[in-house]
């Protein structure tokens, strides 16, 4: 990652009639990145990708690739290639002809063409399948053809539209790491559109989260998950317990949030830029909440670094979802709020297992909540 900007998206807006699909997006993508555009369906991510490919024209703003303004440059003249969601493998051509298509259009000589096609097919592990027709291939193989067909042209940017969505779960996971490996090998900048947060987190070096045409946050997968910029991102990436409240203390080294959903205030060990009284949201991930047994008459446990009477709430388990590797507990607190707690099933059986209707304490570290202002 040299950090050289390859794609610069400046104030790009796309309107379809009254509907604004992409709203004033500013974004820079660096050379060699594996960049993911992430968001729910209809958030404008695919439209943005198609504008990079030249298949849609921005209503406003401009797109620069390698410093060159792409306005008026048709798709066939752009240094980008795309892997379509449906793969769009030409059904009347063999695997080799499909991969050679782009080179043929560019007038690459026959001998060189054959060599590059063979290399590309080897890269995606389809050697020996040259003469097959697309209807003799599985979905995963067809996707490899689409990938080879795009990469053989040695584009500056490879665009991938929901590349894994049509594959079954096992294959999807295998392809995740393989795509990342291929990207590593060819060094081409990948821009991928996905609605699947796991996919984006697992593969991308950086992600942009979009909602209703607006860019919400651009960050590394870790930052996106641990330091979401707003409620939408916190909620969209992974699962989260969200508490609406007000700042009652806001010092440089600590802050306290009071929420009507919790019997005790939330203590965090850092300041929040807002003034006291500001409406804020505290987002706590289910795996960052500790669950302890609550015997009758027992005192609340203390959390290190937290003043007494903060970050510990009594509750009762009202639902258990066993997912194999982990278990999700729904804990009801007295205010009626439900809090999700996630525990890894490290041992094959838990001696001190939790059961339905059991009284528990929930506690969290002062660094666990993400304090969100919007």
């Amino acid at each position: 990652m040299v950090g050289k900007t390859l794609i610069r998206i400046e104030g790009v807006t796309k309107r379809f009639g009254q509907f604004t699909a992409v709203d004033d997006v500013n974004l820079e993508i660096e050379e060699g990145e594996f960049f993911a555009l992430l968001g729910p369906s209809g958030c404008g991510k695919t439209t943005l990708l198609r504008m990079l490919a030249g298949l849609e024209v921005p209503s406003d703003g401009r797109i620069l690739i390698d410093g060159e303004d792409m306005a008026g440059v048709p798709p066939n003249k752009r240094p980008v290639n795309m892997v379509f969601q449906s793969y769009a493998v030409f059904p009347h051509m063999s695997v080799a002809d499909n991969v050679a298509y782009g080179l043929r259009m560019d007038g690459v000589a026959k001998a060189e063409r054959a060599e590059r096609v063979a290399d590309a097919l080897a890269l995606v592990k389809l050697d020996g399948m040259e003469d097959r027709k697309p209807d003799q291939l599985s979905g995963g193989q067809r996707q490899r053809v689409a990938l080879a067909r795009a990469l053989v042209k040695r584009p500056r940017v490879l665009l991938l539209d929901e590349p894994l969505s049509a594959l079954d779960a096992k294959l999807r996971e295998a392809m995740r790491s393989e795509l990342a490996q291929i990207q590593d090998k060819v060094g081409v900048t990948f821009v991928m559109v996905t609605h699947d947060q796991d996919e984006a987190l697992a593969m991308a070096t950086r992600c942009a989260v979009m909602n209703r045409g607006l860019l919400q946050q651009v960050a590394s997968p870790t930052d996106l998950y641990e330091y979401p910029a707003n409620r939408f991102v916190a909620d969209f990436i992974g699962s989260v317990n969200m508490f609406e409240g007000r700042l009652t203390v806001d010092e440089p080294d600590r802050a306290v949030i009071t929420s009507s959903a919790l019997p005790v205030p939330i203590y965090v060990d850092h300041g929040v830029t807002g003034a006291t009284g500001t409406a804020v949201w505290a987002a706590i991930r289910p795996e960052k909440i500790e669950m302890l047994h609550r015997p009758d008459g027992g005192l609340p446990p203390r959390v290190a670094g937290v003043p007494e009477g903060h970050n510990v709430v009594p509750g009762r388990i009202c639902h258990i979802a066993y997912l194999g590797s982990e278990t999700v507990y729904d804990v009801q607190v007295d205010s009626g709020a439900r809090i999700k707690v996630l525990r890894s099933n490290v041992a094959r059986y838990e001696e001190r297992g939790f059961d339905w209707e059991q009284p528990v304490w929930l506690a969290w570290h002062p660094r666990s909540p993400a304090v969100l202002l919007s």
Partner: protein
Amino acid sequence: MEEDWKRAKGPFAIIFSPPAFWLFLFFVVPLAIVWAYSFGENVGPTTIEISGTFRHYVRAGDPVYLDIFLKSLWMAALTTLLCLIVGFPVALAITFAPDKAKAWLLLLIMLPFWTNLLIRTYALMAVLRREGYVNSGLGWLAEHLGIAFEPLPLLHNNFAVVLGLVYVNLPFLVLPLYAALDRLDRSLLEASLDLGAGHLRTIREIVVPLALPGILSGLLITFIPALGSYLTPDLLGGPDSQMIANVIERQFKRANDWPFGAALSFILMYLTFIAIAGQAVLAGRRRRMMR
């Protein structure tokens, strides 16, 4: 589900009996009578004796009639080709028109269908005749430009017949063509552009090969009625532009030679069968190729 439908014999019998009966009575039976006539002889002004003769089929091979058959084939082929040349861009344009415009454009294509053929043909005559709209329009233009103008002979010749046939048959080609083009996966066309092909190249490399079955059936659907055209050559044609249907009509009416007319009709039908078989073979070969 399919199995289930196949086992339900009762409903099928109920649904299919009336049309089957209708087709048998009003299509198969008259056709069989005409077929039988083609092996018969006129023994009186209104009586035909089925003698099993092949005389009429032999007579159809006479150069006079052979020429008319060849001419009909040629006119129908030319019509189909012109329809393709005009219809392909039209179908392509409708395919890529916005959804709202699509319905209106298709309506425009279908609109002539809803007008009687005779009326349309007479309208065409009004356009093409010596003092028709084309000639008077050109005459007016020539007058203003100060050029001498002799009205063009646009009517009652082969040109008029082909023009009329193209006009009448164009929807037959545009509609199946549109259906074939509209079915194409758009992402294939986008992929082609993305891989560096221009629009014309994409049409040649992707659109035409993939729409070929639709194009072939469209050509066939245009060719068959064009081959059997009667009204258009009758009204728009000159003395040398009669087609096989005009000859058949003459046998049944003025010449009162039903057996010969029947034989010509069946030869026309066999030609149609050959065209259909040809298309089926081409489509079959293509399907094997796609495997």
